[in-house]
């Protein structure tokens, strides 16, 4: 059985989604909706940035970008999301696609159109977690999530080269 902090984190995440949603509930237009998600994404970013500082404390140095990505898909994902990423694809030119076939924050949702429409809210925090973690590891990127059928999710990472 999962330990108690698991459900605490699930509930906290759920409430943060609701809080950022509610903060703009009177203004229903599209711009505001995007802003909701950017707040949520930022909360994830800031959390990921701090978390990775702690997690990589006792780890050897990463060899390169791909080595870092593999770490995100395995050790990192297992620690945060309870399972590894199921599939990692890359074009070897700064694009990575991480696929989780049973994503923690979607796994309790039933499949159906109205749930699919709500899905972006439940993946935005994680997009931020990924971006924040990588940013602190000096990999600057844009992260977008794609949900085609629940509870599976693909995270598209586009590295920003300078």
């Amino acid at each position: 059985m999962d330990d108690g902090t698991d459900i605490l984190f699930d509930l906290l995440h759920f409430e943060i989604v609701n809080w950022t949603d509610r903060a703009h509930s009177e203004e229903k237009d599209k711009d505001k909706k995007d802003e909701d998600l950017s707040n949520l994404e930022y909360i994830g970013f800031s959390t990921g940035y701090r978390l990775i500082e702690r997690l990589t404390k006792e780890m050897p140095r990463f060899k390169d970008e791909l080595d870092t990505m593999k770490f995100i898909c395995t050790d990192f994902w297992s620690a945060v999301y309870k399972k590894q990423i199921d599939n990692l694809k890359t074009n070897h030119n700064g694009v990575y696609v991480l696929q989780d076939n049973n994503f923690r924050f979607l796994s309790k949702m039933s499949n159906g159109k109205q749930y699919l429409e709500a899905a972006p809210k439940y993946v935005a925090f994680t997009c931020g977690i990924i971006r924040g973690s990588l940013s602190n590891l000096n990999i600057h990127c844009v992260v977008k999530a794609e949900v085609q059928s629940l509870p599976s999710c693909k995270f598209h990472i586009q590295i920003q080269r300078t």
């Binding site: 059985m1 902090t5 605490l8 984190f9 906290l12 809080w19 978390l51 297992s78």
Partner: protein, 177 residues
């Protein structure tokens, strides 16, 4: 499903809760006008979590109905152990036996926090008070809960007060028990 990871997942999850909560508080401080508003929002978030968390607690522990407030206090203790990994003490019972304090010597939510001077009005861990209120409401106990002492403000311990208001039996929806 593979769970293999070099990390202690229990520790990571607890840190994840601490860090996520911290970021949320910092974001609220930025978004809202007063610390008082933040305190209210944190309590409300806790309340919403509490009304869901109680189901998990009841199924996990197989707990039955509370006999009295002393029994309730004991169950709150085991919930702290289960969800936050800490063991508070129950002290300072009121003469009428309708009020008590939970004393936390350590609190994972505040362990890594340093409160800026301008946020002395902030009740950082007000979420916990909300969780207690929300969870107990679902078992027909109307209580008030507030922070009396706060380690973030230099107090030795964190003290959370719980006051019993009334039983909610009359407000039960028809057809449910």
């Amino acid at each position: 499903m593979s769970r293999s990871t070099r990390f202690d997942t229990k520790k990571v999850n607890s840190e994840l809760v601490t860090l996520t909560y911290g970021t949320l508080v910092a974001q609220m401080v930025k978004d809202l006008d007063t610390a008082e508003d933040v305190n209210k929002q944190l309590e409300r978030i806790g309340y919403n979590m509490g009304i869901r968390l109680i189901e998990d607690f009841l199924s996990r522990t197989g707990t039955g109905r509370c006999l009295d407030l002393k029994d309730t206090a004991d169950k709150i203790l085991s919930a702290f152990r289960l969800y936050l990994g800490v063991q508070p003490n129950v002290v300072n019972w009121s003469g009428a036996g309708d009020e008590f304090s939970l004393i936390l010597e350590s609190n994972p939510l505040t362990e890594l926090v340093e409160l800026p001077d301008e946020l002395k009005q902030l009740k950082y861990c007000n979420m916990i008070c909300g969780v207690i209120r929300g969870a107990l409401e679902m078992v027909q106990l109307d209580v008030q809960s507030w922070i009396v002492q706060d380690q973030l403000k230099g107090d030795q311990n964190t003290e959370i007060r719980v006051k019993f208001i009334r039983r909610l039996e009359d407000a039960m929806p028809a057809g449910e028990d």
